[in-house]
Symmetry: C2
Subunit: 325 residues, 2 copies
DNA sequence: GTGAAAGCGCTAACAG
DNA sequence: CTGTTAGCGCTTTCAC
C-alpha cells in the first residue's frame, strides 16, 4: 500500500483537507504550506488513490474508446492519436474492440459506461435508440456516424469522392463500379450516396458491388465481379478492398490501371506500398482521434447548448492505380 | 446517477450486505434471496460503482497495456488480442502508447501504475532497475523483454532465425546482411545474436546495417547500404523494414529475389501483399497478447513462487522474396 | 442465512 | 488561510 493523504498531512503537520487542497487548489493556500505538503508527499512517495478520488468527486478520470477493429490501420492510427490526446488531458483511455460486432459493442459499452466519464464510439453500429438512451447516462461522442442528437466528429468524404469521380471522368472513364462496405454503416451510406450523385451528374454508368467484407480478402473476392460488370474504373469502400482487388485483378491478367482504374479510401500506409501505388481519398483519422477527445473534453467541462458537429475534410491523392480509360 | 446497492437492497427488502453478497458470494445466500436481489437490481437498472468497489477491496479491475506504437500492425494485433482476453477476464484495459520513447514510457507507467492491478509492458525500454522497482508496486508482465526477476512472455525467434539463415544458405547465398532495429532493444539483440551465431556456423559472411528507424522508410533508406555492402541476402529487423528495402531495391533496379533475397520478421498482413510477397518469420503477437493477459491474471490470482516465463515459437514462412543466389 | 457497522482514501461544504 | 466533519458506494468482519 502506498502512503495516504492522511500520512502526508501528518508528516507536513497540517490537516487532510489542507493536504488535499495543496494538490487541487494550491491557490487557496499559503505558498509555504503548499511547499511543505508537496515536500512531505514526495518524501513519502505519495500517489493519490484514484478510486477514492472518484468516489468522492463522481469523476472517473478516464474515458472509453470503442472501435470496430484496432488491427485495422485506420482505427489504429485513430486510437493512437486519441490516446495521446487523452493523456495530455489527463484522462486515462480504456480501449475496447468490438471486433466489428454490434452485439459485442452493446455489451462492451454497457460495461464500460459506468466506469468512465465519457465514451467515444467509432463507427458505431448501435441502434439510434440505444445511442440516444446511452447519452442519458454518460457523455457520448460519435465518430463516423451522424446522429442529430449527439455530438459527432465526421470524416467528410464529399470533397474526396467528388474529386475521385471527376478524376475518373476526366481520364475518360464512363463505366464506374463502387465496391461497397457494410451496407448499413453510416460511412458506406455516405460514400454510396455521393458516388451516385456525382456519377449521375457526370453521366457515368454506376454499378454497386458487394464484397464479402470490407477487407483485403473481400477485395480479392470482388475482383471477379468487377471484371464481370464491365466497369473500367472502380471506387472501393476502403483501401484494403482496393488493394485486394488490385492484386487479384492483376493475378487475373487485368492490368491496373491499364484496363481498370482503382481508387480506395483511407490513405493507409499500405496504399503507397502496393504496385502500382493506390490512388486514394485521404481520411485524417489521426486528426479525428485528437478532435474526438477534444470534443469529449468540452463536453466534460462546460456543457454546450447544442451537440458539436465537427467535419473533417478529405482529399483525393492520385497515385499509380488510376490512369487512361 | 445510477441506482446504488442500497436502493437495490431496500427494493428487495434485504440489507446492503445481503445485496452485496447476492453478487459476490451467492453461494452463501438462500437461492430465493439471491433471486429477489437480482430481480430488484435489474428492475432499477443497477450498475455497480467501480470506484466504490475498488476503494473497499483494493482491487482496481483494470490493467494497463503499454506498447511502443499501436499503429504498428504487430502491436495492433497484440493489443487487439490482449484487449479481448482482458475483457473475458472482466478486466478493463487501459491503453498507453509510448510513441517509441523510453522517456514517455516512464511517465506513462508512473501515472498508470497507481490505478491498475497490473501492467503489461510490451518491448519495454526502461532500465532494468526501474523495471524491478516497478515490480515492487504492482504486478508487472514483460512482453518481448527478458529480465530474470520478472515474469515475461517472449517471442522466441531462435527457430525462425535458424530456418531463415539455413534457407538462405541452402539457396546458395554466402554473403548476408542484417538490417537491425533499435540496437538497445531486447528483440534486436536476440535477433542479432542468433543471426551471428548461425551465419558463423554455416560460414556465411555477415554485415550488420543500421536503418534510421525500424519502419518502412527506414527500409527505403537502408536499400543503398544493402546494395553497397555486396550481400546477396538480407534479413531485416522486421517486415516493415523488409518491405521498404524491397521497394527501394526494386526502384534502384535491383531485382528481388533475383539479385538479392529479403527476409523480414513479424508476418504482418502486408508481407503477403507486396510484390513479390515477403518471406518472413512468423511471430504470434496475437497469442502473445492473450498469453500476457493470462499470465497477468495468474499473478493477480495466486502468487506463484517464481516468475513465469513463456516462450512463443516462431517459424519461417517462405514466400516470393527469397530465391536463387 | 442475514444484518449492523466500520471503514477504504479522498473531497467538499461549512466553520472559523 | 486552515481545520472539522460528513459522506461517496461498496465490502467485510463480527454478531445473531
Amino acid at each position: 500500500m502506498t502512503a495516504t493523504l492522511g500520512a502526508v498531512a501528518k508528516q507536513a503537520g497540517v490537516s487532510v483537507s489542507t493536504a488535499s487542497r495543496a494538490f487541487n487548489e494550491p491557490g487557496r493556500l499559503s505558498p509555504a504550506t503548499v511547499d511543505r505538503v508537496v515536500a512531505a508527499a514526495r518524501e513519502l512517495g505519495y500517489q493519490p488513490n484514484h478510486a477514492a478520488r472518484s468516489l468522492a468527486t463522481g469523476r472517473r478520470g478516464s474515458i472509453a474508446l470503442v472501435v470496430p477493429d484496432v488491427a485495422n490501420p485506420v482505427f489504429a492510427s485513430f486510437v493512437k492519436a486519441a490516446q495521446a490526446q487523452g493523456w495530455q488531458q489527463r484522462q486515462a483511455v480504456l480501449l475496447a474492440d468490438t471486433d466489428e460486432s454490434p452485439e459485442l459493442e452493446r455489451r462492451l459499452v454497457e460495461r464500460l459506461v459506468p466506469q468512465v466519464d465519457g465514451i467515444v464510439l467509432c463507427s458505431s453500429r448501435l441502434d439510434l435508440a440505444e445511442l440516444v438512451s446511452l447519452d442519458a447516462g454518460t457523455r457520448v461522442v460519435l465518430v463516423n456516424r451522424e446522429v442529430p442528437q449527439l455530438p459527432s466528429v465526421l470524416v467528410d468524404v464529399s470533397t474526396g469522392i467528388r474529386q475521385a469521380v471527376e478524376h475518373l471522368h476526366a481520364l475518360g472513364h464512363r463505366r464506374l463500379a463502387y465496391v461497397q462496405g457494410h451496407p448499413l454503416s453510416w460511412s458506406n451510406s455516405e460514400r454510396l450516396r455521393l458516388i451516385t450523385e456525382h456519377a449521375g451528374r457526370l453521366g457515368l454508368a454506376l454499378e454497386v458491388l458487394n464484397p464479402q467484407s470490407p477487407t483485403y480478402d473481400g477485395g480479392i473476392a470482388a475482383a471477379a465481379s468487377i471484371r464481370a460488370c464491365g466497369a473500367t474504373a472502380v471506387v472501393t469502400y476502403n483501401d484494403l478492398v482496393a488493394l485486394g482487388a488490385m492484386a487479384q485483378l492483376t493475378a487475373m491478367g487485368v492490368t491496373v490501371p491499364g484496363d481498370v482504374s482503382v481508387i480506395g479510401v483511407d490513405d493507409i500506409a499500405m496504399a503507397t506500398m502496393s504496385v502500382p501505388p493506390c490512388t486514394t481519398i485521404s481520411v485524417p483519422m489521426d486528426r479525428a482521434g485528437r478532435v474526438s477527445i477534444e470534443v469529449m473534453q468540452g463536453l466534460l467541462g462546460g456543457h454546450q447548448a447544442e451537440p458539436p458537429l465537427v467535419r473533417l475534410e478529405t482529399q483525393l491523392k492520385v497515385r499509380g492505380s488510376t490512369g487512361p480509360a
